[in-house]
Symmetry: C3
Subunit: 184 residues, 3 copies
């Protein structure tokens, strides 16, 4: 529940940045809107985050770092910051925006959980997320201002990589004991 | 002493960014200037940082993380980076700048000290800081290029939130033993 | 070997950002190009990183934090993110770009290894790196769009400071045991 709500909230705030900056545009008419997103979008992301978190738990691969509830706040905030950053750098040359967002996403993964399991889920997210969005663009649901990557923005895989990395460890982190000992 | 000097230095460098970028402008004439700030500004901030640090110590609420002198450098650098970032994103739509700066501020709080006490002081700073600045704008001391929030910029509470979070734990961190053991 | 390869890769991706954004331009004709860099550039940086890493090991000063292989990924990603960031903020007033990049570089140093030894090597890099680039600009090899610092960009020392700080501890970090224990 917490995990889906987290995905929902980050999707809503991040997507508001994209729409406000003109990075993306919804193309279907008459669909109800929450903040600046058509209702289907945050639910889709919440489901995807839940799926990634469940995969991470299901795979049962050893995490390189044990994450607590406090870390979840940092992880979600960093992914949201990366989301908003993509809105800022959308007008830059693709090389700049992809290297910057890719480096930040890589730093998020290696800080959150530098394990092979988290990397595999992050990489899957970096492929599957954009593929789903490419299909949505093809269906006429939405469009990107910069559509250099088969209709979506070239930095999109980087954003999914960072989000997927954090999502992969959410189940364990959220289930962690509330009372975390002071860290020295 | 260290704490006030830190607040003074960060205020001076951060404010230089705001003035250089045209984000803020001093409106009173004939007031002496240090770097790009009128003298009253860095002293005001230094006093506010000292007050927040003293409140954090006085409240005596348990910190979730014990911070050392080395962490103080990181904390001050991150707050200054957020300060300079606000100068960069001032021209962006308010949704983008507020979400980006808010997410970074939240990450700073949850990294520095994800405790209820630090959150309370950060939140107080996010309210009181902008209120004081709104009064200063009303008095004609200064003005913001983007004055959407009662005369000040909409991202201003985010900057105060991040700064307040770090300030809340400065007393304990600065008093920490100089010789920090290597952390594994 | 790993260290030189890391320096080579970060230099190549970061320089691609600078060239793509028009921050720097290669001026010699007929020199072979890898991605967007003339071949001598990434080799020069790889050598410099190796030298800084060797100096750090040779000096044998105590590190304030023991870094592992996973930290190397985070450190390299953060330096690359700073590299790409300089391409984004190159058009900003010098005060803004220098304070922002300087604060990020300082945060990287104090996170990676807040020791006097790492600081000394970072500071040396912040002086020597730009000096070498100033000579290269004088020789007509390359040019900067913003040449306010004797022909190079004013934020360049900040980038070298962050890179030098991480490079100073690479030898120990890369030599660290592959199997890092889970960190709590």
């Amino acid at each position: 529940m917490t995990i889906a709500a987290l995905g929902f909230a980050v999707a809503l705030a991040g997507d508001a940045c994209h729409v406000a900056a003109g990075v993306t545009r919804y193309e279907w008419d008459g669909v109800p809107v929450i903040w600046r997103s058509q209702v289907w979008f945050p639910f889709l992301v919440a489901g995807a985050v839940l799926l990634a978190a469940w995969s991470g738990r299901r795979a049962g691969l050893p995490a390189a770092r044990v994450r607590t509830r406090a870390d979840v706040v940092t992880g979600a905030a960093l992914v949201l910051a990366l989301y908003a950053l993509t809105a800022v750098v959308d007008g830059e040359p693709a090389t700049v925006s992809v290297v910057l967002c890719g480096a930040v996403a890589c730093a998020i993964w290696s800080w959150w959980d530098p394990s092979a399991g988290a990397f595999a889920i992050a990489l899957s997210a970096a492929v599957l997320g954009p593929v789903v969005e490419i299909v949505l663009v093809e269906l006429g649901a939405a469009s990107y201002a910069d559509d250099a990557l088969f209709g979506v923005a070239p930095w999109l895989p980087c954003l999914y990589f960072g989000a997927g990395a954090v999502a992969s460890g959410l189940w364990a982190a959220v289930s962690a004991s509330r009372s975390s000992r002071p860290v020295r």
